[in-house]
Point group: C2
Chain length 418, copies 2
Amino acid sequence: MVDLNSLGKRAKAASQALAVTVTECKNEALCAIADALDAAHEPILEANRADVAAAHVKGLTTALIDRLTLTPTRLEGIAADVRHVVGLPDPVGVEFEAETLPNGLRVRKRRTPIGVLGVIYEARPNVTIDIAALALKSGNAAILRGGSETLRSNRALIEVIQRGLSEAGLSADSILYIDDTDRALVLALLRLHDYVDMIIPRGGAGLHQFCRENATIPVITGGIGICHIYVDESADPDAAVEIVHNAKTQRPSVCNALDTLLVHPGVASELLPRVVERLEADGVTFRADPRALALVGGTLTVAAAGPDDFDQEWLSLVLGLKVVDGLDAAIEHIRTHSTGHSDAILTKNDAHAKRFVDEVDSAAVYVNASTRFTDGSQLGLGAEVAVSTQKLHARGPMALKELTTYKWIIEGDGHVRE
Amino acid sequence: MVDLNSLGKRAKAASQALAVTVTECKNEALCAIADALDAAHEPILEANRADVAAAHVKGLTTALIDRLTLTPTRLEGIAADVRHVVGLPDPVGVEFEAETLPNGLRVRKRRTPIGVLGVIYEARPNVTIDIAALALKSGNAAILRGGSETLRSNRALIEVIQRGLSEAGLSADSILYIDDTDRALVLALLRLHDYVDMIIPRGGAGLHQFCRENATIPVITGGIGICHIYVDESADPDAAVEIVHNAKTQRPSVCNALDTLLVHPGVASELLPRVVERLEADGVTFRADPRALALVGGTLTVAAAGPDDFDQEWLSLVLGLKVVDGLDAAIEHIRTHSTGHSDAILTKNDAHAKRFVDEVDSAAVYVNASTRFTDGSQLGLGAEVAVSTQKLHARGPMALKELTTYKWIIEGDGHVRE
C-alpha cells in the first residue's frame, strides 16, 4: 500500500518551496504542462481507451462512461483551460489591511498559499489537470486521489504534469497522485492533518458526507444544490417561463440547475400551464403539490409530488412544482428545503426582492435571473475549483483567491507588550 | 438529557431573525445585558461561590480555581467588555466586490452572519458573556457548553443574557446554554451539523484535538502556540534581551508567550548569559541544547534539554534555548517545531527579515517585536473570539468580521445562461 505519510511529507516540503516561487515560474510550469499535454495525446488516449473498455466490462452507466472518456477535442479543451489559468492574476503575495498602530507597530496581512490540498474526486479525469493547474498557480501543493475507473488515464495525466513541473524547475512532488485504489487510503488521506491543510471533495453527496464525517482536516463541502425559483405575483410571465426553462434544461445534471419552482397563487393559473408546455417539449417531467396539480394535473408529464420530492436534487429533467401563498411562504419553503446553493426570486416588486435577498441565506441569491450562473467562470473568477455551500472560508464559487489564506506580518522597533 | 436537536432548531430559528436585526437593536441588547450584569452581582457571585466551594472539595488546582472565580471587579470588567463591543463596527451587511459583468448581470457580495455557533469551553465563566456579546453583535446565535465546574455560575450568567435579550425584544433562543454536564452532549454538539455552522473550542490542546477528530462541523482550531524568537547575528542585544524577557514573562500562561529562543552563534556567547541572568530573576528556568548548554550550563536554572523539550508549549516560566547556525537553520527549526501561531526574528538585516517573513508560515510573523501582540485587542480588532492556527476562514486573531461569511447577490433583467 502507498505510504501516505511519506507522500504527505514530500508534498509539504514541495509546498514550502512553491509558496515562495514567483508567478513567472509558476506560469512557466503551467505552459510546460499544457505543451506536454498537447504532445502526449497518444499515450493519454491509449490509457483512457483501456479505462473505457474496463468500464464497459464493469457495466458502468453510459453517463459515467461519458464522463470518463477523453477525446482529442476534450484534451485540447483541457490544455486551453491550463493556458487560461496562466493569464489569471496570481493572488499570492498581495498585501492588505496595512496599518500602523498607535504604539508604532506596523501591521499588515499578506495572502499566502494554504499549503497542501487533498483532492478526492470521481470519474472525470479532467479534474486531475484542472486542480493541478489551480493549485500550482495559487502556490499550493496537492495530493490527488481520483476514481479507480480512471486510474490508467490519471497515471498518464500525472506523468504529463510532472514532466511540466520538472521542465520549469519545480519539484515533481508539487502534485502527487495516490496511485493505489485501496479505499482505506481515502480515509487515511482525510486524517493526514500533519501534512494536509484542506480537503476538496469533487463528487456526489455521498462523497461530501463521507469527507465531512471522517476528516480531521477542514473540508470544503458543497456542490450539492436543491435550487429554487420563486415566481412572485408581479413577475413578467414571459421572462419567467424563459428563466425557468433555462435553469432547468440548459444543463440539468449540474448542481445549480433548478429543482423546485415555487409560484404565487396570483400567477399560478397562467404561468404553470405555460411552464409545463415549454419544458415538457424538452423532455421535462413534473412533480406537483396538490394546488399545482389542480392547475396542470391533466397533463401526462405531471405527477403528484411524493413526500420527499421537494428534498431532491434532481440532476435530471424533473422539476418540482408548488403553489405557495406568497413571499413569506416561499422563503419558509426555501429555508426548509434548500441546500443553500442557489435560489432566485422573479419579481418587479423591489421590496419583495430586497426581503428575498435579505432573508434567503444561500451562497447565491438571485433576482430576475437563472440560477445557472453560480459558477466561477460565469461570475468573473476566471475558473472554479469548487462551489462551497458551507459557510466558512469561502461561499459559492471558489477559484484562485479562495485557495489562499493570509499571514499577519508585524514589524516593530523592539516593541514589547506593556 | 437535554434534547440537542430541539436546542439546535430553536437556535437556528433565532439565528434567522438575528441575521436581519439592525445594529441599533443588537446594541440595545448588549447594553441591556451589561446593565443586567451590573444589577445581578449578588446572585452571580452566590452561584460562583458554590462553584468555587465545590472546586475546593474536588481538589482542583489553585490556577483552575482562580480561573473560575468571579469577583465584583471581574464582573465590572466583563460588563465593560460588553459595552466596548457596542462601540465596535457591525460587520454585517457590508457589501464588497460589486461589479457589473459584461452580460449586464449585477454581482456583489454581502457580509452575513455565519448562523449558529457552537462554543465549547472550560473553566472561565467570563467566556459565557464574552462569546454571547460577540455572537450577538455579529448577528449569530450560539449554543454554549461550559465546563461542569462552572455550571452554577454559567446558569446565573445565562439568565442575565436572556433577560437582556428579552428587554431588547430579541429571542432568548439567540444564546442557548447546554444545561447538562453529560459529556456525551459535547460529542453530540460536534455532530449537530443540521443546525450548527461553526464550532469554536476554547481550551487546551486536548479539547481542540477532540473537536477536530469528532466534529462533522467546521472547527476553528487554534490557541496552541509553540512560539519562537530567532536572534540573528545583527540584532541589537539590549533590545533582544528585553523582547525575550517580555515574550516569556509578561504572561507566561498564554498561547503567544515564548517557548523557544533560537540564537545565532555569533551573538550566543554574549546574549545567552544576559538572557539567563535577566529572566531567571523572574523565576524562569531553561532547557538548553548542547551548544547553548556549553555557554550557560554552569547556571543552576539551566538544564540540558530533553528530546521533547523543543515540542513543548510551556505555558509556564520555562524557556528552551538553542544555538542555530543561522537563518536557514532557524527557519528549518521553526518549520519542524512551530505550531504556526507566532514566531519572530530580531535582526537589523533587512534581507534576513524579508526571508524570515516570506518563509516562516505562521499566523503571525514578527520582526523586532515581542510575540505577545498576537491578540485581537492588541492588533486593532477591538476584541477576540479565538486565535486560529489553522488556515481556512481566518488565521490568527478572530473577532467580529471573522464571525461572518458572505452571500453572493446576483441581479439580472431576465438573464439566462447561453
